[in-house]
């Protein structure tokens, strides 16, 4: 497996540990359905993913998943409070137009919300920016700025601040080092490469 694929797998495993067996799961930005496929197979969840592209929905449907093509915020508005046991926002949050609205809506339709994101405060990203003076490019962010989707790079400190300001309860948090494997408890904003949060209202 390439390092990139390995990193994605780690992400899946931790999210999988947080998901209750048989849960009703919504994946915002489900891509080609790899995470949901994993959760269906390991946790027997009933899953639906949301994404914007026809080809990604085709990939999900071909995998046997339920998937919905369209705007995730508009989609969530169609559901009553606490319809889902868990809403997952894995490496999507940095690309949202209105992250506050989406996360609050996810907290309405879901009993719990999992958010996973790359920590742009990780020391390597800081050093990289300092020395190269260029947009971060690494095994996860492989593209030049002009070939990338618009993004709001955020840090662990940014996200902690967001939860505090919005009064969102953090039920669990996991900060992983640069290899996305070893837990990082001390100075996570500087030493962690990846962060996962389990949020409730």
């Amino acid at each position: 497996m390439s390092p990139q694929v390995e990193k994605r797998t780690v992400d899946m495993q931790i999210i999988g540990e947080w998901v209750e067996p048989g849960a009703k799961v919504l994946d915002l930005g489900c891509g080609r359905g790899a995470l949901l496929d994993y959760l269906v197979q390991t946790k027997d969840v009933s899953a639906v993913g949301v994404d914007l592209s026809f080809s990604r929905i085709t990939a999900c449907v071909t995998r046997g998943l339920s998937a919905y093509q369209g705007d995730m915020h508009a989609f969530m508005r169609e559901f009553p409070d606490r319809h889902f046991d868990r809403v997952i926002c894995s490496r999507t949050v940095q690309e949202l137009d209105d992250p506050t609205a989406v996360i609050l809506e996810a907290l309405r339709v879901g009993r719990a919300v999992t958010v996973g994101f790359v920590n742009h405060g990780f020391w390597k990203n800081r050093v990289d920016a300092l020395l190269r003076g260029r947009k971060v490019r690494n095994e996860v962010y492989t593209t030049e700025w002009f070939e990338s989707r618009p993004a709001n790079p955020l840090t662990i400190a940014d996200f902690e601040n967001f939860c505090a300001v919005k009064g969102i309860r953090v039920a669990r948090r996991v900060h992983l080092s640069g290899n996305w494997r070893t837990p990082r408890v001390v100075l996570p904003n500087l030493l962690a490469g990846y962060a996962l949060y389990d949020l409730t209202k």
Binding site: A34, V61, A67
Partner: protein, 400 residues
């Protein structure tokens, strides 16, 4: 659906005949299913029996569960794939989707398509003879609903020995039938593929249907539905078709096809009401082609069936309508469809998911309007193939 004027030229003597080309189901023969027992319509009216004209492609497997039912739209028929004769210039209306190795693979599936009850292509409808009078039923024919159409097709499938449906597929009115099928026969239906459709005929769609009906009924030759075979309100039916045709396409696709081009020989200054623009000639052709193959009373009955279709009203709510569904459903909307716009297709997926069912929604970007579901599109084929192929539990892989 539209009648296309453009058909490729007939192949030369050396070329492979069209019906024998790879991926073709070949020559097909329609058959009639005669149901000899009384049939009760949703309206409470009954017929002593009925006939459905249908075609099948592929073979029903030993477990009798590989059947795919194709449901046609308002003006469609049972001939959805293959050719009737080697000389046929046009294959069935969904030939691009159905055939050996195609998205709906007839090597794997036993495909069934029937002309709807109330239709005029061989199934019992207003042109059929009323045994009580020996004359065509006309408007004495019972009112037909989407539910009745589906009920009759279920009887056909029973007759063919089908144990369960691998899938039921349809666009537009065919999509309504597909949804209704999974509601009426939940244990019988494993997959629903509904395209360019709605769970509720809206005011705009009813309005268009009403203009079509008025064009027919205001034609003196309609004569309260009492007219000889081959006669009837030809002008009214042609106008109804011309108007309906516009709702099946789009501003962009019409402009691309015709623009403001003038007919050859059209008067240069245009100060005449004769056919000036190519689009006018095209619509007139559509109207004329239609009256040679469609019955005006059938048009009234089937558009009324569309008008009456409202699953939320019929079952209390859309979630209640879908409560019994066991199938997994794929709804496909098309961005330029303004007859049954994407939003109405999404609504179906929302309600199914709220009801806890397995449902997906995909939206194809096209500028061809409502008839986009008939589009030749590899993207659409891949989606359909992917949806139909997922019979085994998916094998986990890590590709993202």
């Amino acid at each position: 659906m539209t009648d296309e004027i453009d058909t490729p030229p007939a192949p030369g003597p050396a070329a492979t005949p069209r019906h024998l080309a790879p991926g073709e189901v070949g020559l097909v023969t329609p058959r009639d299913f005669v149901h000899p027992e009384p049939f009760r319509f949703s309206s409470g009216q009954t017929l002593p029996g009925f006939t459905l004209r249908y075609e099948t492609y592929g073979t029903l497997g030993v477990t009798r569960d590989n059947a795919v039912l194709i449901c046609h739209a308002l003006s469609g028929d049972h001939h959805c794939a293959g050719h009737h004769t080697p000389e046929d210039r046009k294959p069935g209306w969904w030939n691009n989707l159905i055939g050996p190795g195609k998205a709906v693979d007839t090597n794997r599936f036993f495909v069934v398509c029937a002309n709807v009850l109330g239709g005029c292509q061989g199934s019992t409808g207003p042109t059929s003879l009323d045994p009580a009078t020996g004359r065509p039923y006309g408007v004495a024919f019972p009112f037909v609903t989407i539910h009745d159409m589906v009920h009759a097709q279920k009887l056909l499938l029973n007759h063919l020995g089908v144990a369960s449906l691998h899938a039921v597929i349809g666009g537009s009115m065919g999509g309504m039938q597909a949804l209704q099928f999974s509601i009426s026969y939940p244990a019988f239906t494993r997959r629903v593929l509904a395209m360019a459709t709605t769970s509720r005929e809206g005011a705009q769609a009813i309005a268009f249907n009403e203009v079509g009906r008025q064009a027919i009924m205001q034609d003196r030759d309609w004569n309260n539905g009492d007219y000889p075979k081959g006669g009837g309100p030809r002008t009214g039916l042609a106008i109804a078709r011309m108007m309906a045709h516009i709702t099946y396409v789009s501003d962009a696709s019409m402009d691309r096809k015709f623009g403001r081009r003038k007919k050859d020989g059209a008067n240069g200054n245009g100060y005449t009401f004769g056919t000036q623009f190519e689009v006018e000639g095209y619509l007139r052709h559509q109207g004329q082609a239609f009256i040679n193959r469609f019955d005006a009373n059938s048009y009234l009955y089937i558009t009324r069936a569309l008008d009456h279709f409202d699953l939320a009203q019929a079952y209390g709510s859309l979630e209640a309508a879908f409560a019994a569904v066991q199938a997994e459903t794929l709804v496909v909307g098309f961005t330029s469809d303004w007859l049954f716009p994407p939003e109405q297709n999404r609504t179906i997926a929302h309600a199914l998911l709220r009801a806890g069912k397995r449902a997906s929604y995909a939206e194809l970007t096209t500028d061809l309007g409502h008839d986009s579901f008939l589009l030749e599109s590899e993207e659409l084929y891949n989606l359909v193939r992917g949806f139909l192929d997922r019979s085994d539990p998916p094998v986990f892989d890590f590709s993202i």
